[in-house]
Amino acid sequence: MIPIGANEMLFLMQGLKWTVALAAIGFVGGGVFGILIALARTAKRKWSRTLTAGYIWVFQGTPLLMQLFVVYYGVALFGLSIPAWVAVAIAFTLHASAFLGEIWRGSIEAVPKGQTEAANALGLHYVSRMKDIILPQALKISLPATIGFLVQLIKGTSLAAIVGFIELARAGQIISNQTYRPLLVFTIVGLIYFALCWPLSRLGARLESRMAKAAR
């Protein structure tokens, strides 16, 4: 058995850097497309609602691992020689946009109808009704679920390890194979994920209970 020293920890930290980067790209990219999907999903036109409902159905009904595989091998088919991390980041962005789109659709629909009616009565058009009236309220409603999904996404980035991308979980696997100390290594890796996710989970739970109290 080989001890876990500074070099091994440094390697894990480099993996951690990629885990954070992937989650951040997925969350920001997914947020941008997610808001568009939420708006299309709640739009008046039927085809835009059906189309986005289909998109969400596909991404919520298939394993994240398959989404990674299909995008990873799919972009290669187009003869695009993009770096592995870009392919993985695209997959996480698509995945996150479907889930965030669905969360935000729910929040938009949870804003009381009277708000839309009042905005219409004031003569506001769609853009300012959404931007100034509905979305700010929806954002507040969606915060706990959005933070919950961010935790889900951080944990989900570990699946990039299976396509061979070196993030925290893959770094852990490599160190484990080198040092023959799987339990110690995966405990450390688990603790790092926990340190990343737990504060976010707590924050989400706190916001949720505060909102439940305010609603009573």
Partner: protein, 222 residues
Amino acid sequence: MNYVFDFGVVFEKMPELLLGAASTLGLAIAGISLALIIGVLGVAARSSKYRLMRGAVIAFVEVVRNTPFLVQIFFIFFALPMMGIRLNPTVTAIIALAVNGGAYAIEIIRGGVESISKGQVEAGLALGLHKFQVFRLIVLKPAIRTIYPSLVSQFIMLTLTTAVCTSIAAYELTSVAQMIESDTFRSFEVYFTITIMYLFISSIMMGLFALISRHFFSYPTR
């Protein structure tokens, strides 16, 4: 793009893929059943009079919910043999799925039990219902109805998570696909096909759960 798609080689292996899909369903059903048992026992333990017991359940739930399934399955895969327990990868995968799903089930079921107000129970007793009737009709059924949607989406999530069990070479749809991929080098075709199969499985499950809900829970509440 001058790649020529060849789904033929994939369809030739359809019998193997279908067996893999059946195994995925088996993993999911076993995982869901055990997760439910862990969920109910966990909620009981969480309201125990022993502080240590309550703390242990809370810690279990928090640790499992805030670490990736992939790390959990690796941990269990390496930890069991060290405790002298030798199991095949598929059984190990079921244990990992049960542990992961169980933690979420504890949280969900606890929410359902807490949603029943004390006055309901007291009203039931005042109406002369037996204690067991009160539990069955006033606590259990409405509690299940309340948590049903979140429980169902958690079960579907668990079913999709079975794909990760390929990382310890458990026998299921994704690991079968990986074997076919290494034989045929048709990565995209193989994974695209099984993605459709997963979509089929999850859609059927969602339909079934909706039917169950319509049968048992479509009574007026107010």
